[in-house]
């Protein structure tokens, strides 16, 4: 475990991307099978072991230390696994380098041979044998919580560099491989053949767009481009091959298990790029739900019958990458689009349709359509070069997104909470409010990004100097008509909400600007937000 813990620590503290690539390559070079394979699976989050749930870890630590002291610690550290790793009460003095510490392969193989119920007991015994870095690595491993700024792309690049092969070769093989990937490493080291793509329905690297800039339009001829709505769902890829169907996120995570209703409706051989939405047939058409409807289905490992009924998953197709045995990615967008329309017309219309194309002759005409979308779940338009092939990554000049202008309000900072992760120690999560009555602020939302690191330092200082009360990690900040900090808050949508005291809920709020100059008394009133909702509905 120590070697793996060292790798995690070095990856966490090394800022440079190239240095991370070389750390991973060194690790693959020096650590034998199967350990390197399990480590790869762990950081790529592809390791199938009976997961120990955060709630079970909380129970473990609660059996070993005072809950209140643990609570203070967790608030301070901001990461459950790290807090437990550091605060774990050691039975005996555990010296670094103690040699009965369990190894990574031992841990993984033991867990794989155990039931879910045995997990917490095993973890507890291992925690007693490890030092704090080892405990941290173990806990991250068993909770599957490796969000350490390593994209799956970077990991695949490290493998590609290690084996001197193209990264897209790895990308397309990836979903057919299983830990500890002995065949992959053998191929990369030149001691074995290239693994055959055993996995049906592999993920295909996604093509992404750039945000369009006002100056771009002068350089672009509208006749070269097609446009369609940009739907506010999540971008997914539906693929099926040899009877295996899968749904992937745009980063290649397999989310099939959470969307059985949609995956069961995949009755084709090929790969579609599109938007995952909640929608259902209604009066001969399709009624598309909002992003908050979709949220009922996101970040779940399993799904209930009720969720399937109330929030049915729907696929709105943008592109066709593979039709049967034919790879279409080299064809131009306009050609793929014609194939897509024919392809989708043969699919179950309750689950699949084609994204509508928007006819336009000039950018002004497109701007007018963008300004007046028929549904609130549309967040702008996509502009695609008719001649563009489907290129993985974010190629320049091919696809553009032109999002709707955000809503803007001026709101007053009311509460600040210490951040977690990278920003622990800074007051970085802000609750802001608007005036309901003169002198009465009502909280309307929370934002924790949109500002620069320098602005964060300045806000943090402001919060510390203007605290009225402290509740654990939260500070209540002085906010009245004459004293207080005004934020210009940008957000993408607004809806009524019974769960919020103010009765409104914003979508994707962020700090657009700091208004040090603005007296808080001149910030917006709740009525303004209510009018915005009326405008949307």
């Amino acid at each position: 475990m120590n070697r793996f813990a060292d790798l995690l620590d070095m990856l966490a503290f090394t800022p440079s991307r190239n240095a991370k690539l070389s750390l991973l390559q060194d690790y693959f070079r020096t650590v034998p099978d199967p350990e390197r394979g399990y480590a790869l699976a762990a950081i790529a989050r592809d390791l199938d072991i009976p997961a120990v749930k955060p709630a079970q870890l909380r129970e473990l630590i609660a059996s070993r230390m005072d809950a209140e002291l643990f609570g203070y610690s967790y608030d301070y550290v901001g990461d459950l696994a790290e807090t437990i790793a550091l605060a774990w009460p050691e039975k005996a003095d555990i010296r670094p380098g103690r040699n009965d510490a369990p190894g990574l392969a031992e841990v993984v193989e033991t867990l794989q041979a155990s039931s879910r119920r045995e997990g917490p007991g095993l973890v507890e015994a291992w925690l007693d044998r490890l030092d704090p870095p080892g405990r941290y690595a173990l806990l991250k491993l068993v909770t599957g919580g490796f969000r350490m700024g390593l994209s799956s792309r970077l990991i695949k690049q490290a493998l590609a560099a290690f084996g001197k092969v193209e990264v897209n070769e790895i990308e397309e093989l990836w979903h057919g491989l299983t830990p500890p990937y002995a065949d992959l490493f053998a191929w990369l080291e030149g001691s074995g053949p290239k693994p055959v793509n055993a996995g049906a329905a592999p993920f295909r690297p996604v093509m992404l767009s750039h945000a369009i800039d006002a100056r771009d339009f002068e350089k672009l001829d509208p006749a070269d481009f097609a446009a369609e709505w940009k739907w506010d769902g999540i971008r997914v890829q539906a693929t099926s091959e040899r009877g295996i169907s899968r749904l992937y996120t745009r980063t290649g995570d397999d989310i099939s298990a959470a969307f059985p209703d949609l995956v069961d409706a995949i009755a084709f051989d090929g790969a579609l790029d599109g938007e995952l939405l909640v929608a259902r047939p209604s009066g001969g058409g399709i009624e598309t739900g909002s992003f908050s409807d979709l949220q009922q289905r996101l970040n779940r490992k399993t799904v209930t019958a009720r969720q399937l009924r109330d929030h049915p998953a729907f696929f709105r197709a943008y592109d066709l990458l593979q039709d049967g045995a034919e790879d279409l990615r080299a064809a131009p967008f306009a050609g793929r689009r014609l194939r897509l329309e024919a392809f989708v017309s043969g699919l179950n219309p309750e689950r699949f349709d084609c994204s509508e194309m928007l006819a336009f002759d000039s950018w002004d005409e497109l701007a007018a359509r963008r300004a007046d979308p028929p549904l609130a779940v549309i967040e702008g338009v996509m502009i695609k070069r008719k001649a563009a092939p489907y290129l993985p990554g974010r190629p320049k000049g091919e696809w553009f997104k032109w999002k709707r202008d955000p809503f803007l309000i001026d709101a007053v900072l009311m509460y600040a909470q210490r951040g977690h992760g990278k920003r622990s120690g800074f007051y970085s999560d802000y609750t802001f409010g608007v005036w309901r009555e003169p002198g009465e602020l009502v909280p309307v939302g929370k934002a924790y990004f949109g500002f620069t690191d320098e602005e964060l330092v300045a806000i943090d200082k402001y919060v510390r100097n203007n605290t009225i009360e402290r509740f654990g990690p939260v500070r209540s900040v002085r906010a009245g008509p004459d004293t207080g900090l005004v934020f210009e808050v940008a957000f993408e949508g607004i809806a009524r909400s019974s769960r919020h005291k103010s009765g409104v809920a914003m979508r994707f709020p962020r700090i657009n600007r700091l208004r040090w100059d603005k007296p808080p008394g001149e910030a917006d009133r709740l009525e303004t937000l209510e009018h915005m909702i009326d405008g949307v509905e």
Partner: protein
């Protein structure tokens, strides 16, 4: 007499009405007793200052000889009468000259520990527990997640990194009073005797430690004249952490930023500062040491100040020791 009649928190700091003095006041007062030379405890501009001779020397180095109207040196263990109270200074083990201050009247004794650490430190006198009715403890690292590893092991990690990266300069962030000299001494004790390069901000205090008999070995200024860029390859450079984001740091080849501080225990803290090699070396008591100290001192009551008061108060409650937070303002939460 209640303990609150002997010492009470005021805006300026901890005040003793029968002796009419403050301990570590955060603004200028007529009569100040100072526990140690860190800037948030020792400020310039008091009428009279009573402190150990080392602390007075350090204040004179930092603020000039005229930092106070008058000064008086307190010997460790020496009984000094002020008004209706007596005070004694006892070693705190935090930095050179650091002392706990015991204030006593009519059989009631309160010990204000300032900042302290019980583990041995080759650069200052070792902490000495003093029996008392009220023990005022710091709480800088008062959370169960803070268990400082052995400082010598952390120095080994630094030296291993230096030998693994011979082409890079290691920039080690250290506060200029105490941490710098302790880290240098520990590096020497680990058998590293090559020159160490120091930022100008550390020079005077390192010289002072040397004059007090703490040998620091071959220290050289980390100036450009000391050599061309390549000459710092494989070198260890020590400086205040604030200097590393500065133009000053550009003179070093592919610098590897390290920081010696108790805060480095928390990963996010290290990452926020862009630290590549966090060294957990602290001049404060860690969680276990705070608890052990309270058990050893066995006071009737504990007052908790600067830091994570709530956690230590909770620990005291669990162990049946009356405790309360003092809510003194103006002390840096984060210095170490």
């Amino acid at each position: 007499m209640k303990p609150e009649d002997l010492l009470i928190p005021r805006r300026e700091g901890l005040y003793c009405p029968p002796g009419d003095f403050f301990i570590d006041p955060v603004r200028g007062v007529d009569r100040a007793l100072i526990t140690h030379g860190h800037a948030d405890h020792a400020r310039a501009g008091h009428g009279h200052v009573l402190a150990t001779s080392e602390t007075l020397d350090i204040m004179a180095i930092r603020y000039g000889a005229d930092h106070a109207g008058a000064t008086q040196a307190a010997g460790l263990g020496e009984t000094i009468r002020i008004g209706d109270v007596t005070v004694t200074f006892h070693p705190a083990g935090h930095v050179l000259g650091s002392a706990q201050i015991a204030v006593e009247r009519d059989g009631m004794r309160i010990v204000a520990s300032g900042d302290y650490k019980p583990r041995p430190d080759p650069t200052c006198a070792t902490f000495e527990p003093v029996a008392c009715d009220v023990f005022i403890t710091e709480a800088t690292f008062a959370l169960p997640v803070f268990r400082h590893p052995d400082a010598a092991d952390e120095i080994q990690r630094l030296l291993r990194s230096v030998s693994r990266n011979p082409e890079r300069a290691h920039l080690v962030g250290v506060y200029s009073l105490g941490k710098a000299q302790r880290v240098i001494r520990l590096i020497r004790d680990a058998g590293y005797h090559r020159p160490l390069y120091i930022h100008g901000a550390l020079q005077k205090l390192c010289d002072y430690y040397e004059s007090q008999g703490i040998a620091l070995g071959d220290l050289r200024p980390a100036t450009v004249d000391a050599g061309a860029k390549g000459d710092f390859a494989g070198a260890i450079v020590l400086g205040p952490p604030s200097a590393f984001g500065d133009k000053w740091a550009r003179r070093f080849p592919d610098p590897l930023v390290s920081f010696a501080s108790g805060w480095m225990q928390v990963r996010a803290r290290a990452r926020q500062r862009g630290v590549e090699l966090p060294l957990v070396i602290s001049d404060h008591a860690d969680w276990d040491e705070l608890a052990d100290t309270i058990e050893t001192v066995a006071p009737g009551e504990v007052w908790v100040t600067h830091g994570r008061e709530e956690a230590l108060v909770r620990w005291c409650a669990m162990h049946g020791i009356p405790a309360k937070p003092l809510h003194l303002v103006g002390y840096e939460d984060e210095g170490d």
